[in-house]
Structures are given as C-alpha cells and as structure tokens.
Symmetry: none
Subunit: 192 residues, 4 copies
C-alpha cells in the first residue's frame, strides 16, 4: 500500500458512507458480526478504500464513535457539584445504553486484544472526558466542597468506575442507572 495517501484528495462522500455503514451494521447485526466486506458493500465502496484510511475494524469503529459522541468534553458546572455529577453520570449511562453505546462496547471489547486501539480509544474518548471531569472536581475542591487530600483522578474512578464496571460485565441497564444514585453517597464521603 502507498504509505500515506494524500488526504486532501480524499473522498468525503466515501468517508461518510463508510462511517454510516459501520454504525448501521453495528446496530443491526452487532459489532462482532460486522465485516469489512459488508461495510464496503453497504457503503458502495471498495475494500481498499477502507484499508487506505483505517488500519482495522476497531480503528474504524472508534472513528464512528468519536463522530457520534462529538468532541464536547465539557462538564456541566452549575455550582452544585452533586447535581453536576448526577447530570453527567446520567448522560454517560444514556450514552452507554444507546445505539452508539453498542459501538462503544464493540470498541472496548476489541481493544482488549489490540493495545494500539486501546491507546487510541483512551486518548480520544476516555482521557478528554476524564480531564473535563477533573477540572470540574478541582473547582469543587477549591470551593471547599470536596476534600483536597484525595486526588481528583481517584475521585473520577469512584464516579466512572461503577458505571463502566456494570456496563462491561453485562449488568442490566437499570442497575447501571442505579450507579448515579451513588453520587450523593460518594460525595458525602469526599466532603472535607
């Protein structure tokens, strides 16, 4: 393969058709049953056009995911940290249980066996949102709403951990939503 195709000449039509095809197929058949051939066929695109721009199905699905969830990583800030965290946790559970969540689940599953994909996913999806969360938590710390002696990175784990844990171990959706109920308790434990 040419080492690096000229991205200025890239066909936007093909790119969008491919991303849409991946999303539709993930939703209708499930991530694992989506094949590159089916994507190419559904998108009306040749296989090399896919391989020219993505190194694997996982990388492709990651792009789909990023397109769908958008690049906004802001955390709500109403001044009320409990309300803001609850809002955000609710958004996360909504995402995970949506069609886009099926893509996300597929990407995470694939990434367990593809370190490069894992890295890319963490970098483009997870870390930006963690940082958004930490910024908000730091504001709360400075406002004296949260203890200063617990690293915000650990606080993040306490909020996101249970949600992803239940999501990725296949607990039912209501159970995942219940995680958001914990916010108040956790915050209670983190009060100065």
């Amino acid at each position: 393969m040419s080492p690096e195709p000229n991205s200025e000449r890239r066909s936007e039509r093909a790119r969008l058709a491919i991303l849409d095809a991946v999303f539709d197929l993930c939703v209708s058949k499930g991530y694992a049953k989506v094949t590159i051939e089916a994507i190419a066929s559904q998108a009306g695109v040749g296989k090399p056009t896919i391989y020219r721009w993505w190194r694997s199905k996982g990388a492709l699905a990651l792009d789909v995911l990023n397109e769908r969830i958008g690049s906004n990583t802001d955390f709500p800030d109403t001044g009320d940290i409990v309300a803001d965290l609850t809002t955000q946790m609710t958004r996360v559970t909504a995402l995970l249980t949506s069609d886009t969540g099926r893509v996300y689940r597929g990407v995470i599953g694939e990434a367990q066996n593809d370190p490069e994909l894992m890295r890319a996913m963490r970098e483009t999806v997870v870390n930006p949102r963690i940082h958004g969360c930490r910024r908000r938590l730091e504001i709360a710390v400075k406002a004296g709403q949260l203890r200063a002696d617990v690293p915000t990175s650990s606080m993040v784990d306490l909020f996101y951990g249970p949600v992803y844990y239940r999501f990725l171990l296949g607990f039912d959706v209501p159970d995942i939503r219940a995680c958001t109920d914990l916010v108040e308790e956790v915050v209670a434990g983190l009060r100065p």
Copy 2:
C-alpha cells in the same frame, strides 16, 4: 452435531489437554490470536472434540478461567473491614495482572459481543464473588462498621468498579493498584 454427547464417556485426558492448551496459547500469543485449530493441534485433539463440549472459544476460555481461579469465593474476615477489603482488592489486582488475567480480559472482551457468554461469565465468575463480598459487608454493617442505609450491592460497585474500569479501559497496572488505596477513603464515606 448430536445435541448432547454422553458426558460419562468423556475423555478426561482430552479435556485437560484442551484447557491447558488454551491457557498456554492465551499467554503466549494473546487471546485474540488463539484459534480453535491451534488449540486442537497443541492439545493433540480433534476439532470436533472441542466443538462437542464447548460452543465457542469464549466458553472454552471461561472454563479455563474458572479452573484457574478456583471455586473459593470466600472473602477474608479478620474483623477489620478495611484490612479485609484491602486484602481482597489486592488479590483482585494481582489476578487481573497475572497470566490468568489475560484470559479473563479475553473472555470479557469476547463477552461484549456474546450475550450468552456474558451471562455465563457473570454467573460463574462475577456473581459468586460479589455475593462473597456482600456477605462480608453485611457482617460489617451489622457490626456497625458501615452505614446500613446504603445497599451492600452499591458498596460492591464502589470497591470493584474502579478496578475493573481501569483494567478494561487499559490504564496501567500501577494505576489499578492505586485503586486499592481508595478503600480507606471509600469506607470513610460509608461509616455510619
């Protein structure tokens, strides 16, 4: 395939050879690159013998996992809930970062796209240990060491969630161990 082979006539030799082969191959090549053919070849077994007893690579890996982690789901009980939780969380991180953890990671990844496998995994691996944990937490609640108004199931999420979350989103091992440091803080928040 015959719907149900006669398990009394099953070859224990073949069974063990298969389980060992799966483990060795997972460790040496990574779960995703393990094929049924390679397992059969390495175990000196015909492919039909594998398909006769397991419905998929995931189901097979799940059996390997269960063989390796054993059936002991007891939670330590020294009377000191913080110490016991720390002990257990340390054990969990040790497991996840071990060779057996590679198998576990593979199973979880596969299960994202195989609901039946997810169910079986939760039933045989996750739930028994959750129940062990809850039993210990309930003792602590009764002893007045933990709040009674937070469900023990939610407490479990707070302890296990961060560990799995970091494990499955590919954070580095030291980060995962750091999760155990949270135990004290979390318990602090859960004190009556």
Copy 3:
C-alpha cells in the same frame, strides 16, 4: 484390530442387516452418498462391526452385489446361439438398469481407484460370467456355428463390450438395449 475375527461366532443378523442397509441406501441416495456411518446407523450396528468384516465400502458393496445377482453363472443353451446370446444380453441390460445395477455402477466407479476392489470384482462377478459365456461359445464353435479362428475371449468382448461401454459412459438405457440388436450382426461376422 484383531487380525482375524472368528467367523463362526459372527452374527448373521448383523451381516444381513448391513447388506440390506447398503442396498437400500445405494438405491435411495446413490452409492457416493452412502457413508459407513449411515450404514451402521440404518443397520443398527456399530461401525467396528462393519470394519471387522469388510475392508471398505467398496468391498461391502461388492458383497451386496454378489448377494443380489446370485452365484448362477450359467449361460442359456437352447442350441440356437443367436437366441441364447440375445437372451443373455437382455438379461445383462436388465440387470444394469435395475436397482442392483446402481450398486454395480458404484462398485465399478470405486474400483477405478482401488485395484484390490477391481481385482475382487473381476474375480467374483465378471470372470465367472465370462467363463460361462465362453463355454457356451465354445459349444457353438464346436457345432460349427462360429468361426474357430477367433478366440472366444475376443468374442466375449464383442458382446459385452458395447453394453458396458454404453453403461459406463452414461448413454441412455434405450441405447444400451440397442446393443442387443447387434448380436445378430456380430454373429453374422463370426460365422465360419
């Protein structure tokens, strides 16, 4: 395997059930689609029972064939050589186009790639009948009805050859029957 089972203790019931199963399956599914497993299953017999007594499906089918066509290799002798040959050729075409003929066809097909089967088939099926034919032809030669300077073995070829040729190259049945019409012409050419 035991080198030679004791044939005195052989189960006649099993033997007959196997032969019948082979015949029925050849007729209903065609020789090529008959498997040892299907034979065993249909006959209510274990596979080793088959392998104990026959070295291959071909050998088994050959036995079936011999059971069906009987051991009578006599050639008709009314004194009229043309009539006798016509009678016999008619019998042969009737056999070939019967259900038993399907078995015969299968055996011959198999024998193309199994010299031992070919030898056994020639020895048990073909040669005895050739000899019967030659005996009759020799009587005719001695009676001055046929030339003495053409070997009877070659005469046999002239009578049987066209029939088998058309049978084994897949010409239609009516064409095969037409072969019998040749008898008179051939005999004419063989008159002293």
Copy 4:
C-alpha cells in the same frame, strides 16, 4: 458463492498452475487420493480460487483431461478403413494406458456418481470423437466398404466398446491392446 465470477479478470497463471497440479497429483498419487487442499497447496493457490471456477474435483479433472487430449477429433482417413480403424484404436489404447489415461479413469469413476459430470464428459470428450468416427465410417459406407444397413452408431460401439470395457473392468493393458486385433474381424462381419 457469487453465482458467476467475471472471467475476464481471471488469472491465467492460477488456472494453469491448478491444471498442472491436478495432473501431477493424479499421476503421482492416483485420482482418489487427490484432494482440493493438496491441489491448492501444490499450485500455490487458495482453495476459493479453485471453487470459484470449478464445481468439483471431477469437473476440474475433466478440464485437465480436455487440455491434455486436445480438441482434435479428426479420424484418420487414408482410404483404407481397416488401417484407419486400427490406427485409431491403437491411439485410444495408448491414451488410456498413459498418464492422461489415469486422469480419464478417475473422471469416469467419479462420473458414475455425478450425472452432471457424466453429461459434461460425454459432451466434451466422448461424443466429439464418436462423431469423428461416424463421419469416417459413413465415408466407408458410401464407398461400399461397409454395410449400409447397420447404423454407424452401432459400429462405433463395436469398435470402442471392447476397449473401454476391458479398460474399465480392469483387464490388463496387453488385453486392451488385443482389442485392436479385432478390428479386422469386425470389419469382415460388416462388409456388404
């Protein structure tokens, strides 16, 4: 499979490598022991490439046969019908006893259980040569060298029948060659 691959894009290299591999393997191991896998491996070709263009091993071997025997179906015509028939029968026996004959034997054997292959074989191999023979015989009939009241199709049976009969029932090669000695006798019987 796609119902009809585009034959314009077919790889001639692959096609020839496959045909050669089939021939070599038939010669070295015998038709029955030739597997599609071995062909693919020997030809340096993927199995799907074989299945894309041929429906079975038999169809493939038939193509090999046709490549090897060529498309020339002319019958010699020196004016001497006995000499011409002898020449041709000698050629046929030479073919049948050659390496190509092993392929032919395999195809005929397979065709006993594959009507479609039988039809194709008769159409591409047998019938053209029969017609060549009949054309020559008709010339002889018109020249008054052969009887006009015996159909040429039957005459063909008398010449080819014995050869194929002995070939397919496994008589030794010398016996097959002896068939050509019959030509003179048969022609004698067919003289007006």
